[in-house]
Amino acid sequence: MEQSQSSKTSKRPLQFRDTNQTDMSAWRKKGRTDPENSVLDHQPPNDQKDDNEQDSLEEAFRYFEEVQDRVSLKNSILQKHLTAVESVALQRGLPPEGFNVLLDVALSGKFGDAVNTRILRSLIPASVVPEDSVVSSVSWLCVSKCSGNVQLLFLKWLITVFDFIDHKEQLNALYGFFFSFLQEEKMCPFVCHLLYLLTRKENVKPFRVRRLLDLQAKMGTQPYLQALLSLYKLFCPELVTITLPRKMKAYFRDPEGPWKAAINTVRQRNQENTQVARPLFLGTAQPQSQKRKWNTQISIPASSTNKINFEEDREKKCIDLHSTNESFPVEQLQTFSQLLQNIHRLEFPSQMGSVLTNPLLLHYMNCFKDESVNLRLYYWMEQTLQQECTWCVVDNSQYEEEFKNFLETVYETECFLQEGFSSCEEFLYKSLPLWDGFCCRSQILRFVSWIPLRSSSEIKSHLYNPLAQLFFTSSLYFKCSVLESLKELLQNWLNCQVTRLDSESDSEVHSSNTTLSGLVNTIAELIHFVGWISTVALRLESNHTFLLHFILDFYETVCDMYLRYDLPLLIMPPPRVFYAVLLGMDSVNLNQLCYIMHRYRTNLVTAKENELSKKKILQFKFSNQTYQEYNKYLTAMVGCLWTSNVFQKDIHPQGIAMDDELLKKTEVPDFKNSFNIVCHPALMSYAFFYLQQAFPDNTTVDFSLIKGKEWNRYLEYLYLQGLDGLKVFIESSVKRISQASHSKSGNV
């Protein structure tokens, strides 16, 4: 209160007021003001009318400041000044320094209610409302010079312009005064609203809680009291227990003043993004459907501290009331910077499940590895997944949408943490044998991609077997989705392996159950599994292009494991996959195969070099079989794309080597040349268009024209068509071979 008194006594002329706000003169001299308050900067250039208004407003302020005696409303001078204030207010809003004068007049009771009401109604801020003007008006309120109606109107105004008040420190210091107004029955709802806006944690005191409970006993369940109490509970859960009814929409009525519309108009006119009165949200009970039994409902709990204060603790608290190392309530955690500032005194919410919807807490969880935190989350998630699973539990099928959303949320959390939950893994293992492959399909398959990497024998019987059964009996698109999620699983495993290697080299901690060879075996097992199901699927779906695309996508990761993930493992695709692409009709897949073979080559060459140079002590060596397999594939590929001798040179047991005699019997005229980059079925259309371009006069298509220099030009043409995989393959594997005779073919 001292503050407000001083501001009252120091009434200096407006122009010289030394506040941190713009003063009157600054407000007038457009363009030179503090940008924060230069509301009127964007006004059209100064004109006569504005200046006149300006002067009359200043005059009005001076008049209201100096007026001593009560003046009748009919007084023409008063009328003139009132009109001046009103018109400026509605047009552009009032400058910050006007509020002190006008509030003083309106609340001091110098004039009658009619004048006071008119003044209060015209209090539309152009930019901000200075805090000290509000503070001084509260002191007027305390001496109650004005009538009840004016007081009420003032409170409504204060609520409406609350967000426009520039500072709120001193205002908060008056909390007790506002609180005392609660006893006025008429004002109570508005005081509650104001207190709701003003309350901070330190304002919540046991005696205030008791006062509110008394009021509640007197007035019954009023929404405004509930709102304030629930806010108190939010700050100090140990002081009050309240359960809000489920269908609670608005706690406070709109204060309904004339200001809101006017403020909006002024703001729009000033084209200034001042603080907008934001709708108030109460961070408590979400509306929940009550349709189900109490414990069978997917509800991710809201994050809250449910700190229990025990009797003895309370006594202790009285002693060290001023201790500062109190924990930071999770409810108040809103921004990342808050997290950083309070990370040392943050506590996890009382229900760990709530971290799922709170990215800040997930960050916190990530850097705060604690067994009990993980266990709490594990138990909650495991029980929820099992209890709500729509295909494992009877009568759950109607809640599929809810379950889907839940799975989605859990998956997003896994992506956020870049880590799979073991509760999800167990859930998959338990529910996959019962799964129809349809319900929540995309969610379940995404879950698969986050199965944690560990060397275990469980995965075959628990994942691969049930998945293979579904895979073989489901549609093409299901097959593709499974391959997609297995590719993601592989990538997640490889990433996990890389980070594991990194952290291991730092700490040199080896846990016994995660040896490298164990993990390599697990990864190899996955790749062999995919190879096997791909082989079968190609037969079932008769080499569908779409399917091949997904299979090759998987091998694009496999072929680069040595270089990109530092994993001593390379596995070639099964022959069924290789030949289906090599001899297929699709140029996109063929191009991808070329790229993959190129990457295999790069990886194998590097591995060989490392092995020969023995720079690294190699724990693992690629077996000769891998090299041989690669060489066989390479021979077939070169024969098929370049040297036109695939029928003679292909040495793969499942390849297409054939007797000349046999080939002659097919009566294909030029069988020798039927596989090269010109006549390959996947590339023939390119050759056709190339011929049309290169020899526009030729009416017959003669592929034999493409040879010698034309061959090279055709090759350039192919590269221009975006066959980059073909380009890198031919440049790395063929050119050299073609130059230095075939004997060295692929001797990598």
Binding site: L213, E238, L239, T384, Q386, Q387, L434
Partner: protein, 342 residues
């Protein structure tokens, strides 16, 4: 044994996977009641024994648990629960119950309320010293007619317990309390309120614990072999016939002496029961029934077992009949509850 109707009521115990499928597949320590502490991983249990140590006084204290229907729940370990704070828990839970009952009305913690909540310890109900003592929660209402009258009527009770739950508790960090079995008698609305408070306060999860036909047949065999002093009622098995337009139940009552005689011929080692013995026992009963009525009971679903020791329903409802076998029955139920939360 498992009929088709049992279906997807819960993840089926998959016999092919002993690691987590069967609830009896793991090696369990039973040192509390049987001196031959470690049992082989084969499905095998110790016979339910009458607790010799239990004196008449203890029986008195747990007598109120008998002859009431208890609904079973499994509960994941309670986080930061402490037996030292039971009085505080009563106070807070009272306020919570009152707040839930009068939605929207804030309640001062510790005030006078219509419904009194007590949270107390039942130290007699545990298998060994390693087990946490059971916790009893009771809601009682004051009669509004005479508030001065100290007479309070218990309207709801529930208790958490753990009998020989070492398997779960020994691997838990210190902050957790292992009380995996929760039994409730009273209105579901009150269960919801109390359960919600425990979930919020101790970050645990409640889940109904239903009893599969497989487990019920174990109970039938185990409890038949128990000696009962008083003249006891017959062993009764209730079967439901699946996939009928109208529910059809078959009740199969066997004289206690006959059932015990049959069991005596089957059980090889006294004090120990194996899966094979249970199967033989049930098969004998089935074939006997078939000879008389030409109905294959093995094609139906066992829904209820009622013996002199206790009766159990597949929905997860149990009634204790003999106080000397109370801990024995609870041991089995604890095992099933742990199986559901692990």
């Amino acid at each position: 044994m498992e009929s088709a109707a049992d279906g997807p009521a819960q993840p089926r115990p998959s016999t092919g996977r002993p690691s987590w499928g069967l609830p009896f597949g793991r090696a369990r320590r039973r040192s509390a009641l049987s001196p031959s502490s470690r049992l082989p991983p084969a499905p095998r249990r110790t016979q339910v024994k009458a607790g010799a140590a239990e004196v008449a006084e203890d029986t008195q204290r747990t007598a109120f648990l008998l002859r009431k229907q208890w609904t079973l729940y499994s509960v994941t370990p309670l986080y930061r629960f402490s037996e030292a704070h039971l009085r505080d828990y009563s106070r807070l839970l009272s306020a919570f119950v009152a707040a839930e009952k009068k939605k929207g009305l804030a309640v001062e913690i510790g005030g006078e309320l219509d419904i009194k909540v007590s949270v107390t310890s039942l130290p007699d109900l545990k298998g060994s010293d390693r087990d946490q003592a059971a916790i009893l929660v009771q809601l009682s209402s004051r009669s509004s007619a005479s508030p001065k009258n100290s007479e309070e009527k218990v309207i709801w009770s529930g208790w958490f317990c753990c009998v020989a739950g070492d398997e779960l508790s020994e691997n838990l960090p210190e902050a957790f309390t292992c009380l995996p079995l929760f039994l409730v008698n009273g209105a579901e609305s009150n269960t919801a309120i109390v359960g919600t408070w425990f979930q919020k306060t101790f970050d645990c999860c409640f889940r109904r614990l239903s009893l599969s036909p497989f487990n019920l047949s174990w109970m039938a065999a185990m409890w038949t072999g128990c000696k009962v002093d008083k003249p006891a009622s017959a062993t009764e098995l209730v079967f439901s016939v699946p996939r009928l337009p109208h529910p059809l139940h078959i009740s199969y009552a066997i004289n206690l002496e006959d059932a015990q005689a049959l069991w005596a011929t089957i059980q090889k080692t006294p004090g120990e029961i194996t899966q094979e013995e249970v199967d033989v026992f049930m098969d004998c009963l089935y074939s006997h029934f078939y000879r008389h009525f030409k109905i294959h009971l093995s094609a139906t679903k066992l829904v209820k077992v009622s013996t002199a020791v206790a009766s159990a329903h597949c929905d997860g409802i149990i009634k204790f009949r003999q106080s000397q076998y109370l801990t024995g029955v609870l041991m089995l139920l604890t095992e099933l509850a742990i199986c559901q939360i692990q």
